[in-house]
């Protein structure tokens, strides 16, 4: 019969329409500004810088190695290294700017950072009235505490903390070993220099 397909389809529409009165799980939308959506842990928006020890200036994990600046695909990061009074660069960023009007939230800075200092935030609702200055985040806007990081991404932050603790322990162990070697030369001086006699040995082989 002509029109039976249309009627069949309209029955489906009617089922959905009246179903939404009876079954609350059919209501898939939320009243956005009043109701906020809970975002999954992996959700990402824009990068921020992690600091430890409640010190947003000195406690930054960033050592200004500029790897993220180099690897960033749209080139939205700008870093200047801090210098001490004699002009020698020290491992701290003087300027760390991210232009979030350019940033495409790709997370590559997070992946390449060897110091776990830059992470992805979950903030949204970032609209501004100005097109230029307000969308460039400076070091002080970017710095957020490790506690905040734990709050938004508990699993990932826990893993990062474990890894950092392991690295710190390894470093301490290495320093201890280095100290032990430093003490050792007094008793046995020729041991730290086994590589130097090796090159002459190479030349002896053909002869």
């Amino acid at each position: 019969m002509l029109g039976s397909g249309i009627i069949k389809g309209l029955l489906e529409t009617a089922r959905n329409f009246f179903g939404s009165f009876r079954q609350p799980e059919r209501l898939v939308t939320i009243e956005y500004p009043e109701q906020q959506r809970t975002v999954p842990e992996n959700n990402r928006s824009f990068p921020f810088l992690v600091f430890d020890r409640n010190d947003p200036v000195k406690g930054l994990r960033c050592v200004s190695c500029k790897i993220c600046e180099k690897e960033c695909p749209p080139q939205c990061i700008y870093i200047e290294t801090e210098k001490d009074s004699r002009g020698k660069p020290i491992k701290h960023p003087k300027v760390f700017d991210i232009d979030i009007s350019v940033c495409m939230s790709c997370q590559i800075c997070v992946e390449v950072c060897p110091f776990d200092s830059i992470k992805m935030d979950q903030t949204y609702e970032l609209s501004q009235f100005s097109r230029y200055d307000a969308l460039i985040l400076h070091k002080i806007d970017l710095a957020k505490s490790n506690e905040y990081y734990h709050q938004i991404k508990p699993t990932e932050a826990g893993l990062v903390d474990e890894q950092l603790a392991a690295e710190r322990e390894a470093q301490i162990a290495k320093a201890k070993a280095a100290a032990a070697i430093k003490v050792a030369p007094a008793t046995a001086s020729p041991t730290p220099k086994p590589p130097s006699p090796a090159p002459p040995a190479k030349t002896e082989v053909p002869a």
């Binding site: 249309i6 489906e12 959905n16 975002v39 842990e41 992996n42 690897e71 997370q107 590559i108 390449v112």
Partner: protein, 397 residues
């Protein structure tokens, strides 16, 4: 005030400018007696983006059609030659923004071929699951958009978007972003599955056939849809092959060609699924192919979700920074939801690709548009364009 007529330089009329720069909408120049030339787009809502068609009409019938694109050109291929292999992955998300995961996969596959990397088992399973989820949501949306083009204001599209949102929630939980996923890496995947993700995915996949049943009873016997799509925009089998159309457009014309079966990339060998084929090559066939393909995708998903192995998701030997594949060339291709998506890379041994070329399925399928449209009514052009399923981010790159 300047007197233009007396200026020393000769005044060039737009009509006398050299070929390639003239402003007349049709490339053919004049259109002939009694014909009407219409420029449809680039802001026309039914062109799925910034896409323009120069139509020459005889009454309501299309005599000539010239697709004009490039309004969304972003220089993606040239940019990719100046940045590292890793940094191109987020740009591939922006090609076909409905299926960023399959775009990632095609690019990553090309790099893996170039460098001779085999990803771990678990990563392969995650890739198949992610790609099939992408196919589900792309096809659901495409069917919604097609009915929207037919004049079904909203209802089927909203039903499709409701289901798509469930899949996008899964994708967001997995990759961190709904559409710009940036998830696959050469050598595996970026992160492991979050806790409970497989269970959620199983629930969504188990529910999806209900949506398909609903969609079928809503649409496929609908007389209006049948009248508007059956026998409209017929693409003959020979022409589909000659135009190197791929994906549902080619299979709608009855050619059994699915790269998942032909190319055996990834681990698609291990899954049982059929390749649906059309008989007539019209818009209705292309519409139905998508519906049937979703059923097959669900089969693959059910099988893949059953036995995801434990293990690493990333080859630990691969360092994504300073990645330098040995010099050579590679072409990686996958069966994307829209057709064969291929990446051609030439490496000169440095950190950037020497040449980077994309074979976008939307663009190649679009070349057959004129042949499908000639002799049809202008209202059907919108439907035919919708049945090809283009995304302008991929057409223009």
């Amino acid at each position: 005030m300047v007197d233009f007529a007396s200026a020393n330089e000769p005044v060039v009329s737009p009509l006398e400018m050299p070929t390639g720069f003239h402003f007349t909408p049709s490339s053919e120049g004049t259109v002939g007696e009694g014909l009407l030339e219409v420029s449809m787009g680039p802001q026309h809502p039914s062109t799925h983006g910034v896409f323009r068609m120069d139509l020459v009409l005889d009454g309501e019938t299309v005599v000539r059609l010239k697709p004009v694109f490039g309004y969304l050109h972003r220089n993606h291929e040239k940019i990719a030659e100046t940045i590292t292999y890793l940094a191109s992955i987020p740009y591939t998300d922006r090609l076909d923004y409905f299926c960023s995961l399959t775009n990632n996969w095609a690019y990553v596959l090309a790099v893996e071929k170039l460098a001779g990397i085999t990803p771990p088992e678990r990563a392969e399973y995650i890739r198949v699951i992610a790609a099939e989820l992408t196919r589900l949501q792309n096809h659901a949306c495409m069917m919604g958009f097609l009915t929207q083009d037919l004049g079904a204001m909203g209802t089927p599209l909203m039903y499709a978007f409701r289901e798509r949102e469930k899949i996008l929630d899964l994708v967001e939980a997995l990759t961190g972003a709904r559409m710009m996923c940036n998830y696959f890496r050469f050598g595996g995947c970026r992160t492991d599955l979050p806790a409970g993700w497989l269970e959620q995915t199983r629930q969504v996949v188990a529910h999806f056939p209900h949506f398909l049943d609903e969609f079928e009873s809503l649409l496929i016997t609908n007389e209006i849809l049948m009248a508007r799509t059956q026998g409209v925009g017929v693409l003959p089998r020979e022409l589909a092959i000659n135009a190197s159309a791929t994906g549902p457009v080619l299979r709608g014309s009855g050619v059994d060609y699915d790269l998942r079966k032909v190319d055996h990339y990834g681990i698609y060998d291990r899954f049982e699924f059929r390749v649906p084929l059309g008989d007539h090559g019209d818009c209705y066939d292309r519409f139905m192919i998508r519906l049937l393909e979703m059923r097959e995708s669900i089969k693959i998903l059910n099988a893949a979700l059953k036995d995801v192995p434990e293990g690493p998701v990333m080859d630990p030997k691969i360092k994504i920074r300073n990645f330098k594949p040995k010099s050579g060339e590679a072409y990686g291709r996958i069966e994307g939801p829209k057709g064969e998506l291929g990446f051609y890379l030439i490496s000169d041994g440095s950190t950037n690709p020497y040449r980077y070329r994309i074979r976008p399925p939307s663009l190649i399928n679009l070349t057959a548009l004129e042949d499908m449209c000639i002799g049809q009514k202008i209202a059907d052009v919108v439907v035919i364009l919708g049945s090809i399923d283009i995304v302008l981010g991929e057409v223009d790159r």
